[in-house]
């Protein structure tokens, strides 16, 4: 995958360079040159530019609607017993850790199972984690397009009684200017993710 490999390589070469530079100069501001984020920096990635999906109130939402906020985007489904509640619990913890900055943080849950995840279920589900969290859905074609645009894999898998969904467990972070910046593994801790988002929010307000 372009983003992961290239971002990792970039990150490591930066790290090596900055360590070398610090050894030579004895600089004490190595943090500036080191990888800034715990998550993978995918700034400039040629995918994941936008989504156009419906909120539970029927309104259409795109990235631009959340301008001024850092957006955390996660793809999942509400019948998921495990990864999805864990990701949303982490998002709620991130918001708490951000304190006042949390007002400029928006978690967005995009369902990959629009056939079962009705707007009413999505509203209840996301709000059980934090009242500000929003669940978005589209029809099957819109869902597929959005997942493809974000390089998210999902598939319906039959089980004895019905079906379950395989899906990519990576979260994405947009900065307050609406640019895709980070890919976040499901194993990244709330503390690390909050630090990354805090940095993005600080960048967006010069002088603060």
């Amino acid at each position: 995958m372009y983003s992961f490999l290239q971002a990792c390589r970039q990150r490591w070469s930066l790290l090596v360079l900055s360590c070398a530079a610090c050894l030579l100069t004895g600089c004490d501001r190595s943090g500036d040159a080191l990888a800034r984020f715990h998550a993978i920096d995918i700034t400039g990635a040629p995918y994941g530019h936008d989504f156009r999906l419906q909120a539970p109130d029927g309104s259409e939402r795109t990235v631009a609607d959340f301008r001024g906020k850092a957006i955390l985007v996660f793809f999942g489904f509400t019948q998921c017993p495990d990864v999805c509640p864990t990701a949303l619990t982490r998002a709620a913890e991130v918001k708490r850790l951000l304190g006042r900055q949390g007002e400029r943080f928006q978690a967005v849950f995009i369902t990959v199972d629009p056939e079962r995840d009705t707007p009413a279920i999505l509203r209840e589900y996301t709000q059980a984690f934090d009242p500000s969290f929003i669940g978005l859905s589209g029809d099957l074609a819109q869902t597929q397009k959005t997942a493809t645009d974000f390089r998210v894999h999902y598939a319906k898998v039959p089980t004895g009684s019905g079906y379950t969904m395989d899906h990519t467990a990576t979260s994405y972070v947009f900065d307050p200017a609406g640019k895709l910046r980070l890919a976040v593994s499901h194993t990244t801790t709330a503390t690390d993710l909050a630090a990354d988002i805090s940095a993005l929010l600080k960048d967006a307000v010069p002088g603060h």
């Binding site: 209840e124 004895g160 009684s161």
Partner: protein, 154 residues
């Protein structure tokens, strides 16, 4: 509330052991749901004196109960129904987020935080005999974390 959960779990552990079967079930819990949500997971720790296999389950709150395994494959979450889970003799096997769980499907009602969910589990021993055991699993909030909330922070 957490202390209450621990107590319930403790009582269930004792009760299950006293029932004469060779499986001990401890710290069972079910993730609470929101209205109209049709599925959720049950988690617990299983320990057997002799090797046993968890093969099935049923619950009055669910139309269907399945045994599932969750795994991450190259960043993709995959959940699969499996025919059973082996419990090696003397070892504790954890059904937990990120691993095995009992899936409650076709829910007949919302599972609310604090509810107690009865689940009957069916095990098969090496002698091919069936053992059933009923547990009463407390529901933890939808946003319960992987580790038992405050279970070890008294």
């Amino acid at each position: 509330m957490n202390i209450k959960h621990d107590l319930i779990a403790l009582l269930i552990t004792s009760a299950a052991s006293l029932a004469g079967a060779q499986v001990t079930i401890s710290e069972p819990w079910v993730r609470a749901t929101v209205p109209q949500q049709k599925a959720t997971g049950a988690f617990m720790q299983l320990k057997a004196d002799q090797s046993m296999r968890l093969v099935a389950g049923k619950s009055p709150v669910a139309g269907v109960v399945e045994i599932h395994e969750m795994a991450m494959d190259n960043g993709v979450m995959k959940m699969r129904q499996i025919p059973g889970i082996e419990i090696p003799a003397g070892q504790t096997l954890a059904l937990k987020p990120g691993s095995y769980h009992v899936m409650l499907l076709d829910l007949k009602q919302q599972v609310k935080d604090g509810d107690t969910v009865p689940i009957t589990l069916e095990f098969v021993g090496l002698d091919n005999k069936k053992h059933t055991m009923e547990i009463k699993a407390p529901a933890r909030p939808l946003n319960a974390s992987v580790t038992p909330p405050d279970a070890h922070k008294h």
